[in-house]
Symmetry: C2
Subunit: 111 residues, 2 copies
């Protein structure tokens, strides 16, 4: 299981990912997956857990993230690490984009 | 082995990563590591391989990437996937930044 090597932005498609959110699957194999997310202002990724390790990088916009019992506002250039099985969620304050990367891959995103 | 959960950009330090390149280690655990790279124009990441799977996202700037036998120019919003043990390298054409993510983690970057 492997994506293409070059993922040129105008050729990769956005897919719906919940109210006010879109997802673009970038590179992946069985142990890693990179995803770009677009959030409208006020969109919410409600609190959830998954067994994957997750790293996130904020491209633009403003977001309030909760990871475990800590809540902070983050913006362009900030990053987050979400350990496996730790509750986390996000609310978008200003429309924006971020990069989510998971290990192992999010097989549920490929279905 | 685990990074902090919130990596706020003005508190994370750049480290030298070869001529014309700097590295900022963002989130990580044993199976994933996210790194921001800054490239001056003309800086080169020479052709190399590693056993890690790698995903890259171009934040800004212009880069020529070679992965295996394919070479393309990429810029903001484009992404790349480098399979384990496949030769790859990059030349920066216009000063810029990118996000590299590896699985498993790059323990060599933590030493």
């Amino acid at each position: 299981m492997q994506s293409e090597t070059f993922l040129i932005s105008d050729k990769v498609k956005w897919k719906p990912a919940g109210e006010g959110m879109q997802r673009m699957i970038l590179g992946y194999d069985d142990r890693i997956m990179m995803v770009k997310m677009h959030f409208d202002a006020k969109a919410e990724g409600s609190m959830h857990t998954h067994p994957h390790s997750q790293c996130t990088y904020i491209i633009r916009g403003k977001f309030v993230f909760t990871i475990g019992d800590e809540t902070k506002t983050v913006s362009a250039g900030d990053a987050l690490y979400m350990p496996p099985d730790v509750l986390h969620g996000v609310t978008c304050i200003e429309e924006g984009e971020l990069i989510d990367v998971f290990s192992p891959t999010r097989e549920d995103f490929l279905q």
